[in-house]
């Protein structure tokens, strides 16, 4: 373990340790310095590793195991007793001619479209705001606080407010669209039927663009000022500077940002759950809600787990392809 440490470091750390053992003797058993040095990082990591194992990794393994069983409410107390189902749960989930498979496929389409739209718009708003606020002007600090407010609001409080705004009879949206602008003949329903998709995208964008703004704003601060000064001396205007300096410099930040936004949006449960309640309308039946319903409403955990595993595999695939494509793109751009 200590072999990976450069000699210079070992020496210095070693001399530090030999002094340090004096006051540390009470707490730690006396063991040779090299081993202590080797063991310390693992000790520091231990709490994080144990918790990650308990809450994320072991449940995930169990979840995969559960997906191969016929796990209904009768077996919840001892899920190990549930009958083995081999690939039955998966077969049902991907049988697109049967109702369950068709519903899952539909939910998958809806989620893909939703994610692309929500991530695209969130990124666009975020990058526009970050660039427009790169330069100092009066009221910039205040505006920044305003923009970050949707991010700071607790999801449920904000989404309940949107649900109120989208009410048919007493909501703000219909008041503006129907009563004030006269765009519709009838006040529309926003939280049921096809319109619910629009409502969902609007709320999701509202909620996630400030995050894009926050990250991009931080990214912009790492662009050296000299680049802009040099460009200005060469006669480049503001728009050209944005196109030639700002956007290319943000590439690495964008790579991670878009991926994170996509994963969060694709897995989003909170927004549709608070906006529509347990039964999401078909047009806005996001995949997390769909799986949640198939598991907790019908108490069929086996099939719910199989769907979750399929979802995870899809996300892994998308992430791998995305990283491959964007990394290669970056390399060729640099060359």
């Amino acid at each position: 373990m200590t072999t990976t440490v450069t000699p210079g470091r070992t020496d210095r750390a070693g001399s530090g340790e030999s002094v340090g053992t004096k006051d540390a003797r009470g707490r730690l058993p006396r063991i040779p310095d090299r081993i202590r040095h080797g063991g310390l990082p693992y000790l520091l990591l231990l709490p994080a590793v144990v918790l990650e194992l308990l809450v994320h990794l072991i449940p995930m393994v169990i979840g995969i195991a559960m997906s191969f069983r016929q796990l209904t409410q009768f077996y919840i107390r001892n899920w190990g007793q549930a009958p083995w189902a081999a690939f039955d749960n998966y077969r049902v989930a991907v049988d697109f001619d049967a109702p369950i498979g068709r519903a899952l496929l539909h939910s998958f389409y809806v989620t893909c479209l939703f994610s692309v739209l929500a991530v695209g718009l969130s990124w666009l708003f975020g990058v526009a705001a970050a660039i427009m606020m790169q330069e100092n002007f009066r009221g910039r600090g205040l505006l920044r606080a305003v923009f970050l407010t949707p991010y700071a609001l607790p999801v449920y409080a904000a989404v309940i407010t949107w649900a109120f705004m989208f009410q048919r009879d007493n909501g703000l949206i219909n008041h503006v669209l129907h009563d004030q602008l006269g765009l519709t003949d009838q006040p529309s329903f926003w939280l049921i039927g096809d319109n619910s998709f629009v409502a969902l995208v609007v709320v999701a964008v509202w909620k996630s663009w400030p995050f894009a703004f926050l990250i991009l704003m931080a990214g912009l601060q790492n662009i050296p000022r000299e680049l802009y000064e040099a460009a200005a001396i060469d006669g480049a205007g503001v728009w050209q500077q944005i196109r030639k300096i700002t956007l290319p410099s943000l590439r690495p930040v964008n790579q991670v940002l878009v991926l994170v936004l996509f994963l969060w949006t694709f897995n989003d449960f909170n927004t549709p759950y608070v906006l529509f309640g347990r039964a999401a309308p078909e047009a806005a039946d996001l995949i997390s809600i769909h799986i949640y319903q198939s598991s907790f409403v019908t108490w069929n955990f086996g099939s719910g787990s199989a769907m979750s595993v399929l979802l995870l595999l899809f996300l892994l695939l998308v992430t791998a392809v995305y990283l491959l494509l964007t990394s290669r793109g970056r390399k060729t751009a640099d060359a």
Partner: protein, 287 residues
């Protein structure tokens, strides 16, 4: 950092007008629900049940009094405070230790650790919700430690939600603190932990504050696990707030008042500390 306005390249009119329009639109978009929340929370019930009014016809603070009786809001509030507070403290401490190890030591498994921790961010919550639910139920049945339905179970769950991002951000932050500083401290007789607490932690306060803000917000706003893992006595705000909407009449003015009340602590805290978050991101994550 921004160029001073007197720089030779004062932005042209086209840019200034675009900026005005874009920023106005985004401000309106961001603040619209806040306005609805605030104005509706001060309206009498008949006003929020009828057509929406931009300007309330009458003001009343009645909703702010009634919210505490319609649902046990105070208890939900306390539960949320305990859960989010404990999850934040634990998450920050654990993240500081882990980030210090990764930032300052080269050891076998270092890369595996960072990659694994980060990739847990990708898991759909729904995938480990079901098994975690079963694990908690089974631990309760076999050992008598009530995790399912208890605040402890929720604290444990929430602290791991913010852990990956916290570790990731703190690694970047610690990396930006010169190594010579803590090595000098070690030479002067501090142990490795002494160097961490006397040198690295004080120098990384902005990053740690940012991580704490993030952890608190994550725990305060979570809905999915709270809806499954809590019962009547341990219910947190994220689920409890829906209590106003299950009756035949939805008391929208009370819903808005309650939303505002539960938002104020986090929004105020966030806006006060947001500059640390930006500083922390600039130094740590976004590099």
């Amino acid at each position: 950092m921004p160029r001073p306005p007197s720089s030779p390249t004062a932005p042209p009119r086209s840019f200034r007008w675009t900026r005005r329009i874009v920023l106005t639109f985004l401000s309106a978009f961001a603040l619209l629900p806040v306005y609805v929340m605030l104005s509706s929370s001060l309206k009498p019930l008949q006003d929020v049940s009828g057509k929406f009014q931009w300007i309330p016809s009458g003001f009343t603070i009645r909703p702010y009094i009634d919210i505490w009786d319609t649902v046990p809001l105070a208890r939900y509030f306390l539960n949320s405070l305990v859960v989010a507070g404990a999850a934040t403290v634990l998450s920050v401490v654990i993240a500081v230790f882990a980030a210090y190890a990764v930032s300052r030591y080269r050891f076998r498994g270092r890369r595996v650790f960072t990659v694994t921790v980060l990739s847990t961010q990708m898991f759909p919550g729904i995938l480990f919700l079901l098994p975690l639910f079963l694990i908690f139920v089974n631990i309760g049945n076999t050992t008598g430690i009530a995790l399912y339905g208890s605040r402890g179970g929720l604290i444990l769950t929430y602290l791991t939600f913010s852990l990956p991002f916290s570790i990731w951000m703190l690694i970047g932050y610690f990396d930006s603190i010169p190594r010579d500083l803590d090595e000098a401290a070690m030479v002067d007789g501090c142990g490795a932990l002494g160097a961490l607490f006397r040198i690295v932690v004080p120098a990384a306060v902005p990053g740690i504050v940012a991580v704490a803000v993030y952890a608190f917000m994550t725990a305060w706003g979570e809905v999915l696990f709270a809806s499954v893992m809590t019962n009547d006595t341990t219910r947190t705000l994220s689920v409890g707030l829906q209590g106003y909407a299950t009756q035949n009449d939805v008391y929208w003015n009370q819903v808005m008042a309650a939303s505002l009340v539960v938002s104020v602590p986090v929004v105020a805290g966030f806006l006060l500390l947001q500059r640390y978050l930006v500083a922390g991101l600039t130094a740590g994550a976004v590099k």
